[in-house]
Subunit: 252 residues, 4 copies
C-alpha cells in the first residue's frame, strides 16, 4: 500500500478550514494529522509529524504560520490573503535556506476559475475584441470582483505583449455606465442578482465568430480539488510558487 501524506490544517475552525478538514479526511492518499484553531500552538504540527501544512487562517497570522512550517521542514499550501510582494520576497529568501521545501500561495483555488483566466489571456491575443461580464449575489460590496479585475489585467498584458490595439468601439452616444468599467483598457461589466453565487464570462469576438469562456462557482466546495492538488504536488515544487496555475499542466 502507498504511504499516505500527513496533512495538517490551520484555521480548521473557519468555513474554508472546515471544508479542507472534510476533504483531506475523504481522500484515500491523505491522512489528517492535525486540525488546529486560533488558540492552538504551532508546536502541535511538529508533534503530529505533518508533511504538508494547509494554511487557511487570517492575514495577521499566516506569515508566521508558514515560516514556522518551513523552518521545521514542512511544505505549505496557503489560501490566506495578505501576501504582498514584501512578504513573498522575505519568504522566498527563507526558502533559499531550505531548498528542499515547497510553498504554494494561491489567491484562488478554484481550478475552473484559474483555468478560465489562463485560457482567456491566451485566447485574447487572437481576437479583435474582448470584454468581461461578472455576475454575483447582490450582497457583494465591490464591483468589479477581484477575480474579474485580475482576469482583465492578464488579458490586457497578453494583448499588449502581442501588440494588439484596444477592442474596437464606435460608441458616441451612451448612457453613463452602459459600456462598463475600464480595467487597463478592457471593459468589465458587473451584474448583481439574488440567487447567484459567483460567475464570470470572458467574451472574445472576431469576424464571424465568438469564443466564450464561462466559470460558475456554486459553493465553497469548488476550492477543495485545487487545495488537494496543491497538497499532493507541493513537495515536488520546491521554492515559492504564487498562483495555482504554476501547478497546472497548461503547456502541452
Amino acid at each position: 500500500m502507498t504511504e499516505q501524506l500527513a496533512v495538517a490544517v490551520l484555521g480548521a475552525g473557519g468555513r474554508m478550514g472546515a471544508e479542507a478538514v472534510k476533504a483531506v479526511e475523504a481522500a484515500e492518499d491523505l491522512k489528517l494529522v492535525a486540525a488546529l484553531g486560533r488558540s492552538d500552538s504551532l508546536e502541535a504540527l511538529v508533534e503530529a509529524g505533518a508533511d504538508v501544512v494547509v494554511d487557511l487562517t487570517t492575514p495577521d497570522s499566516t506569515e508566521q504560520n508558514v515560516r514556522f512550517a518551513v523552518e521545521h521542514g514542512m511544505h505549505a499550501v496557503v489560501g490566506t490573503t495578505g501576501w504582498d510582494q514584501g512578504k513573498r520576497r522575505s519568504l522566498a529568501a527563507l526558502l533559499e535556506d531550505n531548498p528542499q521545501i515547497g510553498v504554494l500561495i494561491a489567491p484562488n483555488f478554484a481550478l475552473g476559475s484559474v483555468l478560465a483566466s489562463a485560457f482567456a489571456a491566451k485566447a485574447s491575443r487572437y481576437f479583435e475584441s474582448v470584454e468581461i461580464v461578472e455576475l454575483h449575489h447582490p450582497d457583494k460590496v465591490d464591483a468589479p470582483s477581484g477575480t474579474a479585475v485580475r482576469t482583465a489585467q492578464l488579458v490586457a498584458a497578453a494583448r499588449a505583449e502581442a501588440g494588439l490595439p484596444a477592442s474596437p468601439d464606435a460608441t458616441t452616444k451612451s448612457l453613463e455606465g452602459a459600456r462598463g468599467a475600464d480595467v487597463d483598457g478592457v471593459k468589465v461589466h458587473s451584474v448583481r442578482l439574488r440567487g447567484l453565487v459567483a460567475h464570470q464570462e470572458v467574451l472574445l469576438g472576431g469576424p464571424g465568430e465568438q469564443l466564450t469562456i464561462r466559470h460558475d462557482s456554486y459553493d465553497r466546495a469548488s476550492f477543495m480539488p485545487g487545495v488537494l492538488l496543491g497538497v499532493r504536488q507541493v513537495a515536488s515544487h520546491p521554492g515559492l510558487t504564487y498562483g495555482l496555475d504554476g501547478y497546472l499542466d497548461l503547456n502541452d
Copy 2:
C-alpha cells in the same frame, strides 16, 4: 384553392424592402402585386389591386404612403420609424372614418425580440432582481440599444405596478461604470464585440434560482416572419395597432 392575398411592398429598393419582396414571393398564400421604389407613383397600388401594403420606406414618406393606402381601402403593415404620438393620433382619426381598415405599425418585427420583452415584463413581477445585458457589433454608436432601453422601461413599469422595490444592491465600492447604466431603476450593460449582430439577455434572480430570457438576432431575415404574420392578420384587426405584440396570442 384558397384565394391569395394581394400584397404590395413600398421601399422595395431598400435592404428590408428587398427581403420583404423575397418573403412575400416565397409565401404560398400571398401574391406580390407591386414592388415600388422611391420614384414610383402610389397610384400603382390601386392599379395593382393590393389588399395589403407593406411600408418599409423612410420617415419622411411613410405617413403619406399609409394615409394613401387607408384612403384607398387598403390595409397597411408599417416597419418604418418616425411615427410619433402626433402622427399616430392623426392616423387613428383617419381610421375612424375607415372602420373596416387595419394598420399595424411595429417598431420591431422580430417575433423573438417582441416575445422576449413581453415575457421579461411579466416575469419581473415575481423576482427580487432583474438586470439586462445587451450585446452588439462594435460599429454601433449608441449604448444601450433602443430595444434594451424599451425592455428596461417595460420591466420597470411592470415592477412599479406590482409594488416591487428596486433590485437589491449592496455595492459600496465600485469602478465607474461597472454596475451599468440606470434606466428607470433597471441596470443595463452594453457589450460591444466584433462578430456579433444583435443580442439581449434579461436576467431575473430570486432566492436559489435564476430565469434568463435571451434573444439572438443573426440577420435581417429574422424580421420577415413577423412581417408576414402582420400581413396575414392586419385585415382582422381594424383600427391602429402599435407594436407586434398586439397580434401575438400571449394571453392563454
Copy 3:
C-alpha cells in the same frame, strides 16, 4: 396593523418542510401557528387556529391531511407528490361541499421554472424549431427530468393546436443518441455534470433569430417564494387549483 395569516406546516421535519417553517417565520404578514411532524396529531391544526395548511409530507399521508384541513375550514397549499387524477377528482368533489375553501396542489413551486414552461409553450407557436436541453447533477437516476418531459408535452400541445409541423431535421447519418430523446415529437437532451443542481434551456429558432428561455435552480430555497405566494393567495382562489401557474398573472 394588518392581521397576520395563521399558517401551519405539515412535514416540518423534512427538508422542504424545514425550509417552509423558516420562510413563514421570516414573512411579516404570516404567523407560524404549528409545525407538525410525522407523529403529531392533525387535531393540533384546529387548536392552533390555522387559516392555511402547507402540506409537505409524503404521498401516503397527504390525501388525508388535505381532506382534514378542508373539512375543518382551512385552506391548503400542497407540494407533496402522488395526487393522481382519481385523488384530485375526489378532492374536487369534497371542495364542492366546502365552496369557500381553496386548495392549491403544485408539482413545482419554483416560480422561475413554472414561468419558463409557460413562456416556452406560448413562444413555441411562433418558431419553426424548438428543442430542450436539461442539465442536472450526475446522481440523478432518470433522464430526461420530469420537468423537461412536462415542458416538452406543453410545447408539443401548443404547436399541435397551432397546426405547426414538427421541427425541421435533415439528419440522415447519426450516432445513436446524438439527436436526443423524442417526447411527443420534441427533442430533449439530458446533460449530467458534477457540480450542477437543476437547469433547463428551451431553445427556439426561426430564420435569422433564436429565443432561449433558461431556468437555473441552485437550491431548495427557490421553492419558497412560490409556497408563500400560494399561502397568500389560496383563500381568494376557492376550489381546487392544480399547478402554480393558475395563480400567476400571465395574461396581461
Copy 4:
C-alpha cells in the same frame, strides 16, 4: 517599408476562395499576385512569383496543387479536405527534399474553434465530468458534427492519459437518446435549430463549479483570420504542419 508577401489563391471561384481573395487584398502586409480558378494553369503561380499558395480547391486537385507549389519553392496553406494519412505521409517525404518549404494543412481555420478544442482537452484533466453540446442549422445531415467528434476524441485522449475514469452517471431509467451519443466515452448532444449556424459548448463540472467553453461560428468570414495567420507564419514553419493549433502559441 516592409516588403509584402506575394500570395496566390487557388479555388478563387469558390465561396471560401472568394473570401480569401478579399481578405488577402485587404491585408496591408500581403499582395495578391494570382487568383486562379478550376481551368487555370498552375504555371501562372510561377509567373506571378507567389511566395505562398492558398489552396481552397477540391479533394481531387489539392494534392497535385500542393506538390506543384512545393516543387517550385512556394509555401502552401491548405484548407481543402481529403488529406488522409497516406497523402500526408507522401507530402512529408517530398518536403524532406525541400527542407526550406513549409506546408500547413488545417481541417479548421476558425481560430476560436481550434482554441476551444485545445482548451477543452487541457481542462478536461482537472474535472470530474465533461459533456459536449453542439448546435447547428437543421439542414445539416450528420450528427454529431465532425468538430464535436474530434473535440470529444481529444478530450477522451487527454483524460485517458491523465488516468481519469469516465464521467459519473447514475442514470438507470432513460428515454432512448436522452443521454446523447457516446464518442470514446464522452457524451455528445446534437441540437438542430432553424436560425443557427455552427455552435459548440464543452461543459466541464466538478464539486461546486462549472467551466464552459463555447464557440459560435456566425459566418464563413470566421475562417479568414486563421488563413491569414497561416499565410504569415508558414515560411517560418518548414515541413508539414497538420492543424492550425501547431501555429498557435498555447504554451506560455
